[in-house]
Every structure is written in structure tokens, then in C-alpha cells.
Homo-oligomer: 337 residues x 2
């Protein structure tokens, strides 16, 4: 099972045919050798560190088998791009491992590859190599993505300091509501959502918007950061534990989209889902007050909202306060274990 296979005129297996037809056209960077070697080559810029992320999706666990194949591809890549963004890294390429059930149609693979190709171009993150297998199980996609930072410049998770402002980009909870809608369309009525709001929430589930445009500003300003993938509550707890600090969050400050506000006013209990549901792919950062202002200004220039939601304190634990009361959560973070 090499990283890639030969030219399409000499296909000797279904694997080579799929790779040749759908994935080779995406592997245009010289170091990918058109997927025709055992490995790829990446020449890191002098003075840089490589930042390495790996994340994958499995049908029935992270997405629905009937989701659009182009959005499955793009989401799998964007989950990794979001990790790179939160670390302040500039994407330089990725490896793709895909396991396909025997019944997978060529048209599915074609649409998957087309979606991937769009994001390869949009994020300037070339396909370097991969591995394609048949599986008796569900379709799965695993990506290892690589970025660069100036040596020593990766934004850590473990370096938040008491006194830091806690900020998030964009809005929280949309994808978590979007997947509920995607599973049960009748919720749109119950939540009294406009058509635009339904579309917004569903789109945020299908297609994350990683904040790679903020990588440099994060590197210059953040004390610590991570992306919000498993829910704000659980991920902030991780950041605080890793940093040996505590945090207080003002729930009323957590930025919500108009669509999430509509849903929340129809069902106040959705606040837990919004804060813990995950798949946000926004950035959670801890910054000194001066750096927070600089970061927010840089983000505004890039068209991304940044909102202060609380502050880092000494001690341990994270308090989410609303109307003077501390919220508790039945299921603080997304986990499929």
C-alpha cells in the first residue's frame, strides 16, 4: 500500500484507478510526485518549526453516511486546518487516508475529491500523499496536516495566565444546533426558525469555517489558544487544566448567531447544547488585555468577530455564570466514548 500509484494508462487495480482518476489531479505540488512514489517530500522553510495535526471522521460517528461527499471531504480537512489556525501555523500540506466500503460509487469519490480540491486551492494546503483502502466497515477519512511557524512560535494550550482575557472568534453553538436540525428537520418549526436561520445552522454543521486568517495575529498576541471542537465548556476546561489556571465565563457574553438566538428563545434548555455540543471550529484564546485589543483589531480587519467571554483566574475549575448563578452541565464535552 504505497502512498500513491502509477499512471492511469497502466492501472492494475481498482485502487490505482481511483487514485489515478480522482486524487492524482489534486496532487500538483512537486513534493507529492503525482502520488507516484512511496512517500512525499516537504522542504521546510529555514528557521521554521513544523506543526503537525491529525484528525479524522468516521461515517455514523462524526458525519452521516448520506451527507454530501464534498462537504465530508472539506470538513475533514478543515478540522485539521482549524487546529493549525489555533496554533498560529500556516498550512503547508496534508496526507489523506481514506477507507472506502466496497459499495462506494465512483460518483461519491468524484464529489469527495472535487470538494477536497476546492479547499486545497482555497487554503493553499496541497495534497502531499495518501493511502486508499477498502473496508468492510463504515467509510472513514483520516488526515494529517502540516503547518509552519517561526521556530518556537507555536501557540500552546498550556500557557494561559491569570489575568488573561478569554476570547472566542465568531459564534458558538451553531454546528451543534445544525446537526440536531440535520437529524430532525421538524425542529426548525419547533424552534420557529427562519429559512435563512435553518440554512445557517445546517451549513455550520456541514462546513466549518476555520480561522486560518487569524494565525499570525494569534501568534503575535495570544498567551494560549486551542480550537473549539468538542464544545466550549469541555475545551475551556482542557485549556485551563493544561495551563494550571481557572476561569470565569459570563454566559451572556458568549457570542451567538441570530439563528442560535432564535432557537434559544424557543427553547431555553438549548443553552447547554450550544455551550457543550462542539464542532464549532472557532478559536478559544487567552490574551493579556493589551494583546486582546490588538488581536480583536487584527481580526476585525480580517472580517472575523472576536468577543471577550471571561477571564483567567488562579486556581482550578471553570465557572459559567448566568444571571448571577453558576451553570452546571450534564455532559460537559462531546465524546463518542
Amino acid at each position: 500500500m504505497p502512498s500513491g500509484e502509477d499512471d492511469s494508462a497502466n492501472e492494475t487495480s481498482g485502487e490505482e484507478r481511483l487514485i489515478g482518476r480522482y486524487f492524482r489531479p489534486l496532487a500538483t505540488t512537486p513534493g507529492a510526485f503525482a502520488l507516484g512514489d512511496d512517500a512525499a517530500v516537504l522542504t521546510p522553510p529555514p528557521g521554521c518549526d513544523l506543526v503537525l495535526s491529525t484528525d479524522g471522521v468516521i461515517a455514523g460517528v462524526h458525519f452521516l453516511a448520506e451527507d454530501p461527499p464534498d462537504s465530508i471531504a472539506r470538513k475533514a480537512l478543515r478540522m485539521n486546518l482549524s487546529d493549525l489556525a489555533a496554533k498560529g501555523a500556516t498550512p503547508v500540506g496534508f496526507l489523506l487516508s481514506i477507507a472506502l466500503p466496497a459499495e462506494t460509487q465512483d460518483s461519491w469519490v468524484a464529489a469527495f475529491a472535487a470538494g477536497l480540491g476546492q479547499d486545497i486551492a482555497y487554503y493553499a494546503c496541497p495534497l502531499l500523499g495518501g493511502d486508499t483502502d477498502r473496508t468492510p466497515g463504515p467509510l472513514s477519512v483520516s488526515i494529517a496536516a502540516f503547518g509552519t511557524v517561526p521556530h518556537g512560535g507555536m501557540v500552546r494550550r498550556a500557557t494561559a495566565k491569570p489575568g488573561n482575557i478569554i476570547a472566542v472568534t465568531g459564534t458558538i453553538g451553531d454546528a451543534a444546533l445544525g446537526v440536531l436540525l440535520h437529524l430532525d428537520a421538524s425542529l426548525a418549526e419547533r424552534w420557529q426558525l427562519s429559512v435563512a436561520s435553518r440554512t445557517h445552522l445546517r451549513d455550520r454543521y456541514l462546513l466549518p469555517q476555520p480561522r486560518n486568517v487569524l494565525a499570525e495575529a494569534l501568534r503575535h498576541n495570544a498567551s494560549a489558544a486551542m480550537d473549539v471542537s468538542d464544545g466550549l465548556v469541555g475545551d475551556l476546561a482542557k485549556l485551563c487544566r493544561a495551563s494550571g489556571v481557572a476561569a470565569e465565563i459570563d454566559v451572556a457574553s458568549v457570542p451567538l448567531s441570530d439563528a442560535a438566538r432564535e432557537a434559544l428563545s424557543a427553547d431555553a434548555k438549548l443553552i447547554e447544547r450550544i455551550l457543550t455540543g462542539g464542532d464549532d471550529y472557532e478559536i478559544l484564546a487567552a490574551l493579556s488585555p493589551a494583546n486582546f485589543s490588538a488581536f480583536r483589531a487584527a481580526a476585525a480587519q480580517a472580517g472575523v468577530a472576536v468577543t471577550q467571554i471571561g477571564q483567567v483566574t488562579s486556581g482550578q475549575g471553570v465557572l459559567f455564570r448566568r444571571d448571577g448563578k453558576v451553570l452546571s452541565f450534564a455532559r460537559p464535552a462531546y465524546t463518542h466514548f
Copy 2:
């Protein structure tokens, strides 16, 4: 799904518990941040290229679910190390993605991690990060491994030249016979194998012996190389197609172990299985005659046999000759498509 999770005193999910208990102790290199960040950091040595390989295994496709977990782990890593070896690269680390069925026992994960730890130490290839998921499907392991070569020094597959000697390391066909034995123990009687031979063949299936010790000698001497993972016949065809050359192989020269010779003398038809069965993880190289001698001498110093099995010619196609006749193969290469 971050690259890793927090400290074991604060486990909030089964995923974190597994990672904390079994995988964090393996992640001792500083850039892995004890699996406690979203990403890992790798500082490439100045003047080096990174060589990137990805390869995975799925239960029921590439191994049997009841195979020993330590050997599954080691084989998954060694398949990637073999790619790095064939490219002349020195391993510098890897990312691990593992999808576990719900019924996976902790004892299985413990044995898997113990096997991985042995090879991390033996090959000096640190665990940098990973991704752990539950799957409704079969257990699967995907690894992305990284090596370094001096800039421009990766040994390519596409650069074999007419006049080159074709050589292989070690012996061919052992793992392909080993998996047959593993599936049907009665073959040992039919093939009249000694106990030592049974053990040898089975071990070669369970635990490849990648030739990383030869990486530097390959870099200095080989015109082109790849590892033999999908069978000598199919892989040599790939190397020749990629290089735009042809090859002639003397089947009598293909190095066989004593065990494979025993099996072959009991059943002459096994020659096809030996030449096409795959899982050899030996190195197939094309070298000028002068470089072949130097490579063979360096390999002998490292305790690895290198055997000339044929030569590169101009044109296209690969001929396997035995007793003056050209062999043809029903199934030239391993493929599960």
C-alpha cells in the same frame, strides 16, 4: 477530537482515559507536549527535507482481529518505517490514528501500546501525536511517519536507468506464505515444514523487518528504490513504469529463505504466491554496477543480505524468466480492491 488529552487526574471521557493511561507514557519527546495540545511540533534539522509516508491497517483486511495486539501495532509502524527506509530517510517521528470498536478491552489497548513502545525505542521514532476514536466498524490504525534526508536526497521510485542492476534485500515471499499458514495451520504438514520454518514464516507475516539500517547506503548508491509491500512482481512493475524502463528478472536468483524453499519444493505452484503475495517489506533497488557492489558491502556490514535478481533495460514491461521461459501471473500484485 484534539491530538491528545489532559492529565489522568482529570479524565472526563473514556477517550481521555485511554490516551492518558496507554498512549501518553509513549509520548516523551518534547514536541509531543505529552499529547496535551492540539498539535505537535517538529523542528527539522537545517538543510534537510522531510519525507512523509502514510499507511494503515484494518482488521479483516490487512490483519486478523485475533492477531496479537503488540504485533499489529508494530507492523503498522514498521510498514511506514519501511517506506522511509526505501526513500533513504531517517525516522524522526509519527502520528497515530486509531479507531477502536466499542468492545475493545483495555488489555488489548495496553498490549498494543506496549508493542508500539518497543518499536518507538528500537527505531528511535517518537510518537508525536494522534487521534483516538470509537468506531462501529473494524479496528483500524493509520500512521503518518516522518523522516529526514539531506535536501534533495530522497531516493525516488521514478529514476531507475537502463543498465542498472535490480537488487532486493533479505528474502522474498516469507510473509505471503506466513499468512497462508496463519490462516490454515494444516499447510505446515502439507508443505512438510520444520517447526523452525513454521515459526519463521509466521513471524515474517506478523512482524516485518524494515531495512532502516540501510537508508544511508541507499541514499549514497541507489538510482531508484521502493519497498516491496504489494509483492515483488507488482512493485517492480510500478518502479519500471514510474521510471519509463523495462526489466528482466531471473527467478532462480530471487532470494528465498530455507522455509520458503521447503514449502516450494512441496508445492511448486507457490512460486506465484512468493513473487506476488506482498508484505515483504524488503527493499527493491536499481543501482549502477559499481554502486551495487558498494551497497552490497555496506549492507553486509549491517548484517543484511543484498541479492542481484536482474537488470533494468530500455523499453517497457517486466519479464520474470525461469528455465528460459517467461512466467505469467494470474494476480500480479496484492490489492484488496
